[in-house]
């Protein structure tokens, strides 16, 4: 089943064209990785999918589960099942992780016409999902990301992913700034959340995350377009040849 279809997407930030005609189709249950040098529009794509303000979509369309995504408010997209694991998660003063997740889970359940979870079920669920990424239960009573280390913030993103059970999870450079142990924990968390009912779009600069998280497809983004698509072997090839290989004119699709 086709989950996400992006057709000829063109996006500008303050009159500067960043994404210059991008096409991508993701079926339910697939894991796609997008690689590419810095400044080619990878994070812009993640933000546009999530509906972050400040981006001008000039052309193209994004269809998510048969609906026009670009007409939806960011919170509506989230309730429809789009989750973005942020590259730089923010701290929220005065709001505990537990309270934040409770509000989010119940908003999404309400949208899907489900009863809110009661306190007991919710607590159970939280403990179980926190264990997936090795997040100690004490973190749940701390304010969202406040005083968390870089690794803890990223683990918290995957914990939230586990709580909200999205259809499409976008991981924006989740591996950046992580040491190898933290990277393994995050990757294991993501692997345990893979399901035929869920797709992933993994954005990364380096290949190393893909050693732990085997993608079904790898795309290479360069200068606002997807210039190469293939399977996981493409990531390895890219790793050995470097991004300069792209600059030397090899931009046909495989």
């Amino acid at each position: 089943m086709e989950l996400l279809k992006i057709n000829n997407l063109k996006v500008a930030i303050e009159d500067k064209l960043i994404i210059k005609g991008l096409n991508l189709t993701i079926n339910l249950g697939e894991v796609h990785a997008i690689m590419g040098p810095n400044g080619t529009g990878k994070s812009t794509l993640a933000n546009v999918l999530a509906g972050k303000p400040g981006y001008d979509v000039l052309e193209g369309e994004i269809i998510f589960m048969g609906k026009n995504l670009l007409e939806m408010e960011p919170e509506e997209r989230a309730r429809e099942g789009i989750f973005l694991a942020f590259q730089y998660p923010v701290e929220i003063p005065g709001v505990t992780n537990a309270n934040f997740m409770k509000t989010a889970v119940n908003e999404i359940r309400k949208y899907r016409q489900l009863e809110p979870l009661d306190a007991f079920d919710f607590l159970q669920l939280m403990k179980e999902r926190a264990a997936l990424v090795g997040l100690d239960a004490s973190y749940l009573q701390r304010n969202v990301n406040e005083g968390f280390s870089g690794g803890e913030k990223k683990r918290n993103e995957i914990f939230q992913l586990a709580m909200l059970e999205p259809k499409l999870a976008i991981l924006d450079e989740t591996d950046s700034g992580l040491d190898i142990d933290a990277l393994k924990i995050v990757a294991n968390g993501v692997n345990s959340l893979r399901s035929p009912e869920r797709s992933f779009l993994v954005i990364t600069h380096y290949q190393r995350l893909l050693n732990y998280l085997t993608p079904d497809f790898v795309h290479v983004m360069y200068d606002g377009r997807i210039v190469l698509s293939g399977t996981k072997e493409l990531a390895l090839e890219l790793e050995s040849k470097g991004y300069d290989w792209l600059r030397n004119g090899n931009n046909g699709s495989k």
Binding site: P74, A78, V90, P93, G94, L164
Partner: protein
């Protein structure tokens, strides 16, 4: 009530207390002179000592200058263009029972969510209702009298308990204290009076509800609370006013006296009309509130939720005279649109081993300005004194301001003073992060503001905590684009 319903309810309403009730009023002529003071004194049928006191205050006031040290700005106030006395016409004498109260007045308070009919009142709360310049009804009076507790309008107290009033009125806030206290002393017309006798624990919340209804009228209420040795009382005041284009002056004085081993808990939910989105109209709330812990081991605790008024200028303070006495100040001040608030506290440590705790939460949105101003003063004799202060500010948007002016004076070498301060901002990034988790902007702000204010909200009596929580969100409505 679940959070989301609560927020839905409140995000769909404007200032809902902005109506004007069609109650016929009797006014004293506009302006202020000795004849007006005599008029008020006569109307109130007060004993001679009060006239003398009021005139002294008035003469002193005339020699004073309006203070301008606070971080607030407003056009000059014409003190001769204000009605200093307004009373519902049909209310010649305070009614003996609620059946005698003008039904229009009862309806006004019902609309405000303050039903005065005793059977409808929240269990365990006695209410004194003050409309413009007079107290219109006091509930549960008899039940309290059985315990020897006096809860009545200050006007009744002046007539029926002149000894207590003469002993304590002006003992904590003398009329020489400041410009607005002097003005209040000269012209105050009503307010509440509480006396709790020795060893009595007041079994219910005492509450006064202040309402400005008449136009171009100043409200000058006076509250005096005395907790005798070993007694306890919890008191709450609420305030609202109609929506009007003009600014109205509210200059109240509150005095608290706690004797040995006594405790007074004073909570305020202030929701005077704040003015419209362009900053037109609203109440000038210039208030002097001060308590004295006169006896050993006594305690005074102020909790305030300040959401209304165009300008708030107010510093509920504690004079810790008795050894081992305790002062507390918990405050949430919210400003939105063009509101200005300069609020805080003074903790004056005089006795040995006195302790004070200050928790101030300022929330600024729109183009508003929110200042905390506080003084912690530890005298030479206050050995072993301790203070802990925490001042947190939360900014919503980038056109508002939060300011902190802490003053600390320590005059001995074995006291401990701690001060912590933080500033946070609800940025667009935070709002987007919440949106991305399925939470709308309004709910996100509600979540953050309530979390930020929790420590203070927890100090309020249960019923009022819910009310205050709603108010916080209403006040911030429209604060994000």
């Amino acid at each position: 009530m679940p959070n989301d319903e609560l927020l839905k309810e409140i995000t769909e309403q404007e200032y809902k207390y902005g109506f004007v009730a069609p109650i016929e009023q009797e006014f004293a002529p506009k302006g202020l002179n000795e004849d007006i003071i005599r008029f008020i004194w006569e109307k109130k049928k007060e004993p001679p000592f009060m006239l003398e006191w009021r005139l002294k205050a008035f003469r002193y006031w005339k020699s004073m200058q309006e203070p301008h040290w606070a971080k607030v700005e407003y056009p000059p106030i014409d003190y001769q263009d204000i009605y200093y006395y307004a009373a519902p016409k049909k209310l010649k004498e305070k009614p003996k029972s609620l059946d005698e109260v003008d039904p229009e007045i009862l309806r006004t308070f019902e609309k405000l969510g303050i039903p005065l009919r005793e059977q409808e009142i929240l269990a365990g709360v006695a209410v004194d209702a003050v409309l413009d310049s007079v107290s219109v009804a006091t509930t549960f009076k008899e039940k309290l009298e059985e315990l020897g507790i006096i809860f009545c309008s200050i006007n009744e107290a002046i007539r029926n308990h002149p000894d207590l009033v003469q002993k304590y009125l002006g003992s904590v806030v003398p009329y020489t204290d400041n410009f607005f206290a002097a003005l209040n002393s000269a012209v105050f017309s009503d307010g509440s009076f509480v006396y709790v006798p020795k060893g009595v624990r007041c079994p219910m919340e005492l509450s006064t509800y202040f309402r400005i209804n008449a136009s171009e009228t100043g409200q000058f209420e006076r509250t005096l609370i005395i907790a005798d040795e070993g007694s306890y009382v919890s008191y709450l005041e609420g305030c609202t006013a109609p929506i009007r284009d003009e600014n109205q002056l509210h200059a109240a004085v509150v005095e608290l006296i706690a004797l040995k081993d006594a405790e007074i808990k004073y909570s305020t939910v202030q929701n005077w009309y704040p003015g419209d989105k362009e900053g037109r109209g609203g109440i000038y709330n210039f208030v002097t509130k001060r308590g004295i812990c006169l006896g050993e081991n006594s305690k005074i605790s102020w909790t305030q939720v300040e959401t209304g008024s165009a300008i708030t200028w107010k510093y509920p303070s504690c004079i810790l005279k008795g050894d081992n006495s305790v002062g507390e100040f918990y405050s949430i001040a919210i400003t939105n649109n063009y509101q200005q608030a300069d609020t805080g506290t003074k903790m004056i440590h005089l006795g040995k081993n006195t302790r004070s705790r200050i928790v101030s939460k300022g929330i600024a949105a729109g183009r508003s300005n929110n200042s905390y101003r506080g003084l912690v003063q530890i005298s030479k004799k206050a050995v072993g004194a301790r203070n802990y202060s925490q001042c947190d500010s939360l900014l919503i948007g980038d056109k508002c301001g939060a300011h902190t002016f802490p003053y600390i004076e320590v005059n001995n070498s074995n006291s401990i003073v701690e001060h912590e301060a933080t500033t946070s901002k609800i940025s667009d990034e935070i709002l987007f992060y919440c949106n991305q988790r399925g939470i709308s902007k309004e709910d996100a702000i509600g979540l953050i503001v309530n979390g930020f204010s929790r420590e203070v909200l927890n100090q309020l009596p249960m019923e009022f905590a819910v009310e205050a929580q709603k108010l916080l969100s209403v006040s911030l409505e429209g604060s994000v684009g």
